[in-house]
Assembly symmetry: C4
Homo-oligomer: 202 residues x 4
């Protein structure tokens, strides 16, 4: 495999394991802890959190795929910036599980768990932004990125970044609205396509 191939293979492995580990947060205590239907119902935050985090990691994977495709030079610095992104991706199952566990606990714990969740998402977005702008600034992309495209991409990264910040702050008042905001960001990124960095599409 060439450099890009192995960067993709390793990253895809991490994305695939992280997205699958999300389901470990779904469990019921087992027989002897009340009716199963009630247990499943009480754990609704886990199911909603699973869907949001699944699609968020999925969106990152799709965008990461398009990003790597546009890269011409795989430098050692790029590999380490990519590791920083993966560091946050791997934290998502933990942050998701903790948030789901505490969302309905009420009080300060709900706020803290939502802030933790938002912070991991914020970190992941910032790491992706850093990876992207590093490659663009160094001219490591296959095609030069025109200024207007660069502006639109900057706007797009900033939108997510601000939305996650809003979610963290809102979480101190209403964790459920905060969760809704983070879910809407996932929907936004699914619907609104990352502008291409100049490579022709298939």
């Amino acid at each position: 495999m060439d450099d890009r191939g192995r960067l993709e293979a390793f990253s895809d492995g991490v994305f695939a394991v992280a997205i699958t580990l999300l389901a470990l947060n779904l469990f019921v205590p087992g027989p002897g802890h009340g009716a199963l239907l009630g247990q499943l119902g009480d754990r609704w935050p886990s199911f909603i959190a699973y869907v949001i985090s699944f699609f968020t990691i999925g969106v990152i994977w799709v965008n990461h795929h398009e990003f790597i495709r546009s890269i011409a030079v795989v430098s050692r610095t790029l590999l380490f910036l990519n590791l920083v992104l993966l560091l946050f991706v791997v934290l998502i199952p933990f942050a998701t599980g903790t948030m789901a566990e505490y969302l309905t606990a009420g009080g300060q714990d709900s706020h803290v768990s939502m802030a933790l969740f938002g912070a991991v998402y914020e970190g992941m977005g910032a790491a992706f932004g850093g990876l992207f702008f590093y490659a663009v600034r160094r001219g490591h992309t296959v095609y030069a990125v025109p200024d207007n495209m660069r502006r639109s991409i900057t706007l797009r990264f900033s939108a997510g970044s601000i939305a996650y910040l809003v979610a963290i702050i809102v979480g101190f008042f209403s964790p459920k609205i905060s969760l809704t905001v983070i879910g809407l960001v996932a929907v936004y990124y699914i619907v609104d396509r990352t502008p291409e960095t100049g490579e022709p599409q298939t």
Copy 2:
């Protein structure tokens, strides 16, 4: 890697992790909880459920492989429909473990756990159907799919879909017969090959 290559690599990663996590549902409480032979015997639903879910995920993987091979265009929509399929695949270890845990619990819990199991299988089948018909309708396959083949594939997807629905309903009367139905669907899909979408076989 090209688009198809990376779609396969990521999907294969998720299939591989999900199929391996199935074994996490197999465990015994350890020394001090009665004779090991008795513990293993009491947990027979876990072993049967493991085999059924292992081959079901395996069949999906084989069919997914043949499907991707027949695809010429990897659009962003296809990537997201594929994510929906994986969302259900990742739920299979959870649904399998919960079902095995409650199968012999009796009462409403057995019914609910079997309905959950059947619903995840139903969702997975529907997602695969959606993925398939999206690609065929958009003409994104390597070869045009003739009408008679399209009919036979529709029939095949419908058969699974109806069988899982039957399994969910039967589960409210006899969870064990329901499990047998789901096992038979796996056998059916192993034996009855997915018709090719026009690509010559190796």
Copy 3:
């Protein structure tokens, strides 16, 4: 990816996850359960079992790699026979953990756990044998396999098969000798190379 490529990618994914999950059997109860050194010492069967199972899965991976390289035709039957092999590979972490947990429990439980461990290894060896002979008999290998080579391979598979059977039987008298036998089989397979099926070596 072509058929062989994706068969390898999926199988490698399962091998990689299964070999890594082996380490989940290594854990200590945590602070408040006696001195850490004592806990680690009491759990010596877990560490020995980890090393044996790690190298056994590793050997299977190496041999699987050489096997797939010698295959010219990837039929649907081959894919399913490969799934049967993986079914047993995925059981290895469970069987290893259970065996390590009960090895020093004494009495019937030690025997049963060792028999379970041996049976999973036996099943894995038999599945690999089935996969191999299916491909050879169907003439699906890149080069024809000469009779003397076929005999030597048959002998080699039989050796493992008989050794695992011996380990299961010995396990009813001395689980520790049984574990030693299974460890020696791993060493034997590491040292004694699978004969090539006709393809020139790099």
Copy 4:
């Protein structure tokens, strides 16, 4: 896939799973065990240990990638030496979790857990060294490695090896300083690039 390709694919799979399993050591006991903020604060060693082990596995992956790229011959011995390296990589999540759990426990347990952590890192470094020097001595690299480069690489492996040994010894006096040393080794390996074995860079 060719020999190098599959060696990379399997190794990348193991690296990806091991690096993702690190996050399983991050968990909080859940509602009813005191304030979440306090629980997270008490578990600071887990978070620091996560970051150190994440980047250590990441560095090994980057270096492994550069190493495999420089290899021309994939012998069976190389595959098994690679397995020894992976054996230690897979132990890292276990060693990391145990160390983080006991770091602040005080007394002999802290020392033992830090020695275990250091020993796994030492074993991993030694295994990588063995893999590297085996390939160089056998002349299995794409380009001959000049003497001065061989010396600088030897120095580099020795530096890590001695630092981990120091960390193990220091761990018996101050586990926290020991952890700092291991963290600094990761930083050193990130900053100081592995000398190339003769292959031109992209």
